[in-house]
Symmetry: C3
Subunit: 348 residues, 3 copies
């Protein structure tokens, strides 16, 4: 079950710069492209005539022409030409989807178009950090999008799954302070490891000592996104309000369900330390994509173990405080949508 009234990342701008992209989102086949008028379009990828994928057709001035029998549609999904006939019946149309282009992404609205408010699209990068060098990538995962969010909301996995890449010590991890609170759009989770060991690779790049304060500040925006503000400073400096001058990143994680058990995981990392160091200085940490592939393998295997298993048999532990709260927020959001827009949410 998916929240439909929400903005999801459909693609990066790059992905559709010079080609039609066929992508299934929330179980619906969608074609994304830029029409001849340079407008971005998202249409049902199934012609209303014989069901052919429009993504096998050709881009036109206003939309797309089906590559099978030539029906043409504009970006609203309305049929504007039927070869061999002059009258175009009202039912000659395909579904279209509201879009917003913001940051590096094309965001799509999968629910009731009346409810789509572009102001709800997440700001990333924040205005004052727009010039931090950014790296973004996408992983196509054979796992539920919920598992990806859960993974991020329980950072204790850094000490185990990412032990050899970006991990903290088990003790530091166990001693982390965790603060969770609800927000109007979801919930926040602040995790701080004070007086922790600086990871070995850390010292190669940052001018901190062996003992550091590390923090991760998560802003979960239901149903699908997490803004993360993470960094580290010399031990003792965190509570003194210091944030700058060392490890400092703002990451946007946003997950788009393909099906119940597969998803697209987009992540986008802005590096706030780069401004302090000489340009071109080589990075010594594992790339974000490499680290997240460790997650991918775990999540896909986890999905296999849960396919025929009742998750009620699983148990929560203390470090799950943020994850449990996030799931509560997500479930409430699902219930609310079902109650208020019952019909719309049953469309697929």
């Amino acid at each position: 079950m998916f929240v439909r009234n929400a903005w999801y990342v459909a693609a990066t701008k790059n992905e559709i710069a010079d080609q039609m992209l066929a992508r299934t989102i929330l179980n619906e086949p969608i074609v994304l492209f830029v029409n001849g008028n340079q407008e971005i379009c998202a249409l049902e990828d199934r012609c209303c005539h014989r069901g052919a994928p429009l993504s096998l057709g050709n881009i036109t001035e206003t939309g797309v022409r089906c590559g099978y029998h030539g029906m043409a549609f504009d970006r609203s999904g309305k049929c504007v030409e039927i070869p061999g006939q002059t009258t175009i019946p009202a039912r000659a149309k395909v579904k279209s989807y509201p879009l917003v282009v913001k940051g590096d992404y094309v965001w799509i609205w999968m629910g009731d178009p009346e409810k789509a408010d572009p102001a709800d699209v997440i700001d990333y990068p924040p205005d004052d950090q727009v010039n931090w060098p950014r790296a973004n990538d996408m992983l196509h995962l054979k796992a539920s999008y919920v598992m990806v969010l859960e993974n991020l909301m329980d950072l204790s996995h850094l000490s185990y799954l990412h032990r050899t890449s970006i991990g903290s010590s088990e003790t530091d991890s166990a001693n982390a302070s965790m603060d969770v609170k609800r927000t109007p759009t979801g919930m926040k989770f602040l995790r701080v490891m004070r007086n922790a060991d600086a990871p070995k690779n850390w010292l190669k790049r940052y001018p901190t000592g062996n003992k550091v304060d590390r923090w991760s500040d998560f802003d979960y925006i239901a149903p699908n996104s997490i803004k993360q503000f993470s960094g580290g400073v010399n031990a003792g400096d965190y509570d003194a309000g210091v944030r700058d001058g060392s490890h400092l990143v703002r990451t946007l994680h946003t997950v788009t369900p393909e099906t119940e058990k597969t998803c697209f995981y987009f992540f986008n990392k802005a590096d706030g330390y780069a401004k302090f160091e000489a340009p071109g200085k080589p990075r010594t940490w594992a790339s974000t994509s490499d680290v997240f592939k460790e997650d991918q393998h775990m999540l896909e295997q986890q999905q296999l173990r849960l396919n025929n298993f009742d998750v009620k048999n699983l148990m929560d532990i203390n470090t799950d405080v943020a994850r449990v709260q996030m799931i509560r927020v997500l479930k409430e959001r699902l219930q609310l949508e079902q109650e208020t827009t019952g019909q719309a949410s049953q469309k697929t």
Copy 2:
């Protein structure tokens, strides 16, 4: 749902010339082969003893011996030997299928054997054109056999899907005259584009001018076959009765369902112009197989888009006149069979 009381192409004669062929037809596993007495056999590819595929066994004088425990069957499906015992019970048998060899094909009857009349097998090539050079091929498609028939019955797709291979202009296509009429065995569809542009490659081979009359005369023989007579002559000559001397082909299209969503598409093209030109002259048109692979890709993607979609949501357009009529004929044939031979059609 399939029409069972019908002749389907099981294989080309070549396919079984020197080997056993295991092929699923209408969801039934069948083994095809030539026995030691040079008779063609079609048996259930599942031994009645332990279910082993007979196609893994050995050909005998009269039939096949199972390669697992050695039971032997003649071409009627009757067991003629059981190793280790002298009595052969009546139920020791596998299903056998009526066959007719005609033209390049082995035709199989999937329904009530009592109703199998070899006279119903399609004549191809027609007697007076038996010496036209023929080319035949088969595509194994991950799409319903119905989609293949529909594809042929709406030639407007030539202007789009085959635009760069054998396509006509969109205008000529839209102006085509279309005549549809019922026949005792199905329906006929005549499509004529008068005073149309000759395709560029056309002029390299045929002695016509830039403007031509092109016709396609389809004879749909329910449930699975279409005889096509197509050609082109100088503009104005078609209505004067001229057919010879330029592009001139007789094609047999026949589709054999493997399952509901996969099929074998056999096509066989006899070239009536070859008799007018020097032997060995190289062909300049795309090969039929290459063109049909464009269809294959479209049909398989179309099938994927329709797998979880109610086709009632699709719509017909003017150019669908023949396709719609054909589907009506096919459905009537299915209903008729269900009413008159209810039990037989439920066998599998």
Copy 3:
């Protein structure tokens, strides 16, 4: 449906000598490994916290630590550490399985642990033949474990499926005497071909004449194992009690269901003739694994033919006497278990 109260081979000792092994047995995901204390462990391969596979974690002194969030389990499945908390709730545990190491194998008990009696594990090799050279291998088959047992219980297939490898003549096979009798643990099947042709390759190794007596003595131990004692002597010697001095093997066949339609087939062959011949003499027969791959291909194709077919439509023949008896024993065992331990057998 599986018999759960039984010992199944989970793995060879070699398979887990230096790695964790993830293997599904009777539809349950299991991880097998040797802990730091050199004890063999078999645990549910699914952490009770978030469902992660424990096989992606790390071996500890007493068990395993999950590679996702670090929960640690001892070999009884009890959680012994939860990072970030001191209290360990009673429900923090995963399923563990009784194990017995015997011969070359690790045997696992899939049913009620109360009923697990190590004395029931099959003795192989027998004490007095422990020094016969042994060869063992495993095939992962896409076929029901029952088909593997049936294959062994109808040796008439040697004349057909193994015609070119280890086959006997069809006549000798048809004339074989067959004796079947129930035993407390299953049933026995003795098959003797008297005065049979010695296989061609046989003569290259064994000092017998062209005519031999060949026997196979099967001991089916329900639900999953067959001990086979086979050999050959000069014609006439069998009934005189001679067994030694020529072809002489003791084989243990044991099959472990992975799912209803896939299994692991372990076989282990001890060669009693090797003691009579010069060490290092090369073998001239096809290797057991090569011969059994002929079975594998047949069984997997047989499974495909039976997937959507009612086996009630198959028929038994005279040579099936042992196979039919074996199936009866297996079904009785299944029924008995369902009646006496109804709940336990429904666990998965």
